[in-house]
Amino acid sequence: MSSNSKEIPFWSDPQKRSIAFQALALIAIITFSFILYGNAQTNLAKQNIATGFGFLNLEAGFDIADPPIEYWSDDPYWKALVVGVINTFKVSVIGNIFALIFGTFVGIILLSKNWLAAKMAKTYVEVVRNVPLLLQLFFWYAIFVDVFPSVKEALNPFGKLYLSQRGIVFPVFAEHAVWNWVWLAIFIAFVISFFVRSASVKKRREKGESFNPWPIMILTLLGLPLITWAIGGAPTEISSPELGGFNFRGGYTISPEMVSLIFGLILYTSAFIAEIVRAGIQSVDKGQWEASESLGITKNQTMALVILPQALRVIIPPVTSQILNLTKNSSLAVAIGFADFVSVANTTMNQTGQAIECVLLIMAVYLFFSLSTSLFMNWYNKRVALVER
């Protein structure tokens, strides 16, 4: 038996020390949690607050303006919360789509050779990034409430679109059962086009040449919804906003709360996305531009086929966190009175006093949104990542 191992006391053995340290940390965390749990039990018992999610089945008793699904104030709390989740989802999806488009556009303009255009884009980015989002939301909301006229004197910039204190009103197709089917057809058409394009790309990779997917894709995207619409009876009736009494009748109204929220979120997030896109494009080596120029590829094609695909690899990770930020920032809706999930949960919390449950619900919902977005973006990032050969 060598005396070597005996000479090392256990506190100098890194492995044993690490185990001891972790055990201590674990004990500390568990003790701390128990103390918190104990405090909560005493305090809740003292104030006679029942724990658990039983309150979700009670009658909510508050109204929600323009609910996306049928909802009345005598529905239970859980249904109000579902309305909130759908609203949050709606705002996040619309906001993210437009922020990505607008942000990329501004990012490209930041690099424009036109001095004035680049300077204007820069000014927009600097102003928007250096003012709190909440303040911007209040500002846009104030424009509706304080600056825009009442319904009777609504601004009419063009066509049948009206701007007033009650929001934006514009004409839409009158309600008809077929429109739901048309939406479904559009969705299916997108799925089909996606598969057609993948098949074309796959064939090109394997055989070196392939069919052009675009005619088939465009035909599906236009044809499928059109056929559905024609079979369903081809309704053409349009519901236009008409001034009647104190409000508009007909048309589609977007509330000032929703417009300010979505508009504010898009403007704010676009500024960050623009900077990321600019940095991404600049990160692509100048030689790539020169090489494609010498191959006789036009500038626009170079951008679309050579530069952007390479820039995407740098762009996607930070853009992912911007998408997540927009989703989380949509919770600021509570401050301007749009019924997103946080604001419904807040009302529920104030009415029932179930603070712990409601805060946990908010966290769970946003964690779900964050994790699913991260998973999707990681999958997409892997798809565009550089395949090293």
Partner: protein
Amino acid sequence: MISVNSEKLGSWLKKNLFSTPLNSFISIILITVIFKVSVPFIQWLLVDSVWTGTAADCRQANGACLAFIREKATFILFGFYPREILWRPIVSVILFIGMIWYSKEPHRWNKRLLWRWLKLTLLIALLMKGGIFGFEAVEIEKWGGLPLTLMLSFIGILFSYPLGIFLALGRRSEMPIIKGFCVIYIELIRGVPLISLLFMASVMLPFFLPDGLILPKLIRAQVAIIIFMAAYMSEVIRGGLASIPKGQYEAADGLGLTYWQKMTLIILPQALKVVIPPTVNTMIGMFKDTSLVLIIALFDLLMTTKSALKDASWLGFSVEAYLFVAVIYFIFCFSMGKYSRRLEVEFNRGVRS
């Protein structure tokens, strides 16, 4: 001389605005848009605006009601703090800005600076609170406006930065329990909006405190902000730790340094320096995010503005008020951003030479 200048101007214009027909077209449209927007705006803000008078004077004019800002500026900047002792919040703001100015030189970044910040925080808290040395005591609920915003953000940074370092080290640690705890903490906090943490602080935390202990809402919100900021700081710092070449770790191990010696003497000084620009950007984000405390009814800069707007005799001047506060936020955030870019350039220069 003039001809040379105009020639230069001409070639500059041709190169930057009118290089192609399309470019000229875009430039002309943009110039028209700028005129259409900025001329009425300047007229509204400077020509037609009302500088003194009452709400009635403002309503008669077509311009901005700057009289409203003059009337409410003190409230917006300092909230409900007693008017007779307004010098105390003013001195606090000056101390804060002075300390930020003092901290911006890289050669002052050491442990002493951290202690100075801690001392300053205590001093400002005493100054605001009063109650000793013959100073009149002011309840914490009356604090508001710019001092509150500065306090929430810079005290938040002061505490979340070290916490972020520990979390980043923990996440890269080889001990599974420590690592697991740090990963869960960071991802959990980054996955939820700040509002949910503020709700937690305002309505949930009181349940978890021992019986009889009541913390003011401001302190609870400050804790929530520190918890939130630390998660984001740690991710920035983790990036810095990852950028240090493996040889540095191995060399430190080879010298027989302990873990803490290795980290504090070799790794952290390099890692923290690399990520200073993104750290400052995170700080800017946090400075803006402190405005969210108005949702739990704390009187930060934005909340004082909102309540100034509720004054029944001055209704309807929200655009002026929001622009005023936006300028204040902009000055702080823009100068921090400029500073971060300057550091980036300086450090890059250092790397190349």
